[in-house]
Symmetry: C2
DNA sequence: ATTTTTTATTGACCGTGGTCAATTTTTGAT
DNA sequence: ATCAAAAATTGACCACGGTCAATAAAAAAT
């Protein structure tokens, strides 16, 4: 009982994603409407949902691609060993995450797997972010009383916290980079 | 040009919130439908939106109340001075935050003020959480090389991280409390 | 009291995400 | 080539949050 995939399926799917990417390029992620995507792609609405569970599933795919590209960039830098170089290396990733509030919210919501064995593109990206940071930290000038894995989880937590505060009217005084720098210095190289 | 508020307004608003609370008590937050709330309250749909900007605004009010009650509980404990007692004191708060995935997501989304001078009930609660933890940390057995304010922001960040991972299929092995304990020990009382 | 102005309520209507039985297209067997 | 089974597509339809011009009720002015 194999379910053969027709080549037209792949074509339709590609057309949908292409159309969606065009819409996003023009108006951003938040303004994307399924109706506009299917019209641009020249298919019926039902077709969209035959290809993607829901609108968020398409968002996950598109944002996952962008995130992976940003992570490629991050990994292409010379291996950072200090707090400030780590932050600099992650700049493309964080930049995209903060590009739109809608993007940030959606990324956070899907950063963990939603169901059992149901790990989506965004959760995968967060896992990759984590692994990259672990790798960097393993031979960086940081505290060694705690495993690199935990340090990396902390980096992620602090990055999200700094991004959150960036969107927050109350704490908009300090810049994202300055705040993250202070957090990570205290976390990775404690003085007491 | 004062806009006088009629007493019937307050009554209608109270009826709406009461109705909403009943619905939530029965089916949880996620299942709440505006239609059901207005039916229970015996008003028209338009009235709902004359009282609350949108459905989320009502959610914010209800969750804010619950959160404040949890924070009252937290503050009623004998002032915690160690990592484990801090975690224990915050248990009611974290418990509510993790009670439903929908609740967690919404809280995170509104944890920062959404607009300038537009600080809502949930953001206020997060501010209170922060203040309470600062107060505790000020005379707790923790590192002093970093201001208590930053330590408290870290506590919040790690708590959110631990809650996120709790909802995540990948990392469900470690319990929330154990994970948060490890985080906070490393953050508040570093050994190197 | 009567009129005017302000405030609150109403419900028909809209936008948008999502569903599903019916239809069309493709595939594979004969 | 023909036909039956499987897969993909369609579009009318639904659910639900949210809007707004019309109406009703209350408060203020006369």
């Amino acid at each position: 009982m194999q379910k053969t995939v027709q080549k037209r399926t792949l074509k339709t799917r590609a057309r949908l994603i292409e159309a969606a990417e065009g819409v996003v390029a023009q108006n951003g992620y938040e303004a994307l409407r399924v109706e506009q995507v299917v019209q641009t792609a020249g298919v019926a609405k039902g077709t969209f949902f035959a290809h993607f569970r829901d609108k968020d599933a398409l968002m996950e795919i598109m944002m996952g691609q962008r995130l992976n590209a940003c992570l490629d960039q991050a990994e292409a830098t010379t291996r950072p060993t200090t707090v400030s170089t780590i932050i600099a290396a992650l700049e493309p990733v964080h930049g995209f995450m903060m590009s739109e509030r809608y993007v940030f919210d959606l990324l956070i919501r899907y950063s963990g797997a939603t169901g059992i064995a149901e790990i989506g593109p965004i959760a995968t990206c967060f896992e990759r972010y984590f692994r990259v940071v672990v790798m960097w930290l393993e031979d960086a000038q940081v505290r060694k009383d705690v495993p690199a894995e935990m340090l990396a989880e902390g980096v992620q937590a602090f990055a999200i916290q700094a991004m959150s505060l960036k969107f927050c009217a109350l704490h908009s005084a300090t810049s994202f980079t300055d705040r993250l720098d202070a957090y990570l210095t205290a976390w990775l190289t404690p003085a007491a």
